[in-house]
């Protein structure tokens, strides 16, 4: 005869089972029997997202239901809460959210993800969150971050992601440098940053897609992956140009990126390249980027001599580069002869991309500088295996043209696609 073996399973096992379910299904177990009424409210993780609610419930009514969830959990929960994620389109009541976060900090929260989409009034985080000792992962979207004067850092924090938060530069700097085991830092669309200072010895992964006036990175020996997109400060201008440095000043390229000795993956956007290219550009970095194996340049402007010169300063400093990805940026600027001359000149140099195996080129506009660049790559890459060119528009790159380019590699496969 079949017996009920599920209801009496040890709690950590039941917790593991119910955590594989969306919160909605877990909460429905409350109806199974008296024993089951509050099991769901004692789980170690809660994810409140759009899947919790039916389509018939209007967004504005959702918070009332979220309040119910908070109430059930606060009344019946035993043990720790390790993870909480709020990612539902709703209109949070800030005092409810405040009370809930205080509750979570008392429950030893390790992973907190808060996405407040309403934006009418930004949610100011309660200061008790900043004395949360066990926090390992923090992801905030659309909040106001102010550190209390008692802030001593997050001693366990490994991952920090801030999206569209209100935070001042000094606070951000202090926050980042006060997390001794921080490995991953992601900053997206932060409001009004002047100087972005990222000083943390332990950092392994850095992604920035934000507005800032200046950037200061520290030599972090473990920093392996860096992704920086700089958003123009003043979008009322048709074309943004970063503030030009006084003549004679050393370039931003070395000042900002020169410390990235250990970096393996580097992704840069066009405005950021323009910012880096400011000042006197050297031929190469004082210390070569020996570990750089992957370079991705977004919206590369082949019309700008400075940007191209900056690109070559990086390429000359990266002898172990294996993969190069470029998406070409469109520009209405007239192509100057100097860009083309510069590229042709590079061909005469006796250097090789001795480890380069893959090149992907997107958004080819078929301008002369782009062709000169490809010609250069092909002639100087003895182990190149794959070149993929993606062109937007109707006509493909004529195969004949590609096949006639001199190539240093014997095993090269060229793929040409059009979108």
């Amino acid at each position: 005869m079949k017996s009920d073996r599920i209801s009496d399973l040890p709690w950590d096992v039941l917790n593991s089972i119910l955590l594989h379910l969306p919160l909605r299904d877990a909460a429905r177990t409350s109806l199974l029997s008296r024993k089951w009424r509050y099991k769901w409210a004692s789980l170690s993780q809660f994810v409140i997202d759009d899947k919790c609610f039916t389509n018939s419930l209007p967004d504005k009514a959702r918070w009332g239901e979220v309040r119910r969830i908070f109430h059930q959990v606060q009344s019946n929960h035993c043990g720790p809460i390790e993870k909480f994620k709020l990612a539902a389109y709703c209109y949070p009541d800030h005092s409810d959210l405040d009370e809930w976060i205080i509750f979570l900090t008392l429950k030893g929260i390790k992973e907190l993800i808060l996405q407040d989409f309403s934006f009418v009034r930004r949610f100011k985080l309660p200061s008790c969150l900043f004395s949360c000792p066990q926090l390992i992962c923090l992801e905030l979207h659309g909040c106001i971050v102010k550190l209390p004067s008692t802030f001593r850092g997050f001693s366990c924090l490994k991952s920090l992601q801030l999206t569209q938060v209100s935070i001042i530069s000094e606070t951000l700097e202090h926050l980042i440098s006060s997390c001794p085991v921080l490995e991953r830092l992601t900053l997206l669309n932060i409001d009004h940053l002047s100087i972005l200072r990222i000083h943390n010895q332990n950092l392994k992964y850095l992604k920035i897609d934000s507005q800032f006036e200046d950037l200061s990175l520290e030599s972090s020996p473990l920093l392996a992956s860096v992704h920086i997109c700089m958003i123009p400060m003043n979008t009322t201008m048709p074309v943004y140009h970063p503030r030009q440095l006084e003549g004679g000043k050393p370039s931003n390229l070395i000042r900002v990126l020169g410390c990235l000795n250990g970096v393996k993956k580097l992704t840069l956007s066009s405005y950021f390249i323009e910012f880096l290219a400011n000042g006197n550009l050297p031929e190469r970095f004082p210390m070569p980027l020996l570990n750089l194996s992957f370079l991705d340049l977004k919206e590369m402007r082949f019309t700008s001599l400075k940007d191209i010169a900056a690109l070559f300063a990086i390429l000359r400093s990266a002898p172990n580069l294996e993969e190069l990805v470029i998406s070409a940026g469109h520009s209405n600027e007239v192509i100057s002869r100097t860009v083309v001359d510069f590229l042709r000149e590079q061909c005469l140099y006796d250097f090789f991309f001795s480890q380069l195996k893959v090149v992907r080129f997107r958004g080819l506009c078929s301008t002369i500088p782009e062709w000169e660049f490809l010609r250069l790559i092909l002639a100087h890459s003895p182990v190149l295996e794959s070149l993929i060119i993606v062109k937007y528009g109707i006509e493909r790159v004529p195969q004949s043209f590609l096949l006639h380019l001199e190539r240093a590699s014997e095993n090269l496969k060229i793929t040409s696609l059009t979108l």
């Binding site: 079949k2 299904d25 909460a27 029997s33």
Partner: protein
């Protein structure tokens, strides 16, 4: 001269003896900790696991150890292992619960995850009455209590 892999001797609750290579036994954190404390020639008693279940657990561990080794030579894919796992848990409910308890006691994370996920799949998307029937859970709510529970968790039942 090739050295023979070290063997570990396990004894189930019903006194059956199982001999396995060390790598397979070490999939269990519990056994791993015991091996480090106990002399290698001793029999390790597992009083919470019957022979029938222990045999299955060891089959799982061996498969995963072999797959990891083959993966280094890229001889198997994740898909094959996932398919094998899916077949492995096609057992009656009693055996499934026994496997969960064994995986919990022996501290074999991947097996615990697999078996818990299987039970979760048996709950997902079902009505409370369907779930009760699947697991033979007796409904001891009065109709008034049921109504109360539905109301307090309205959002989940709409």
């Amino acid at each position: 001269m090739k050295s023979t892999p070290k063997k570990i001797i396990l004894r189930s609750s019903d006194k059956e003896i199982f001999e396995v290579v060390e790598a397979v036994a070490m999939e269990s954190q519990t056994i791993k900790n015991l091996i480090e404390d106990v002399s290698s020639d001793d029999v390790i008693p597992l009083d919470n696991v019957t022979a029938r279940i222990l045999a299955k657990v060891l089959e799982y561990c061996k498969k995963h150890v072999d797959a990891a080794a083959a993966n280094e030579n890229k001889n198997t894919t994740d898909d094959e292992l996932n398919a094998w796992d899916a077949d492995f848990v096609k057992v009656d409910q009693n055996t499934l619960v026994d496997l969960i308890m064994a995986a919990n006691f022996l501290n074999i994370k991947s097996l615990l995850d697999l078996t818990c996920k299987t039970v979760a799949d048996m709950i997902r998307g079902k009505t409370p009455e369907e779930i009760r029937q699947t697991f033979n859970i007796k409904n001891d709510y009065t109709p008034e209590e049921e109504e109360e529970v539905r109301r307090e968790n309205q959002w989940a039942f709409e």
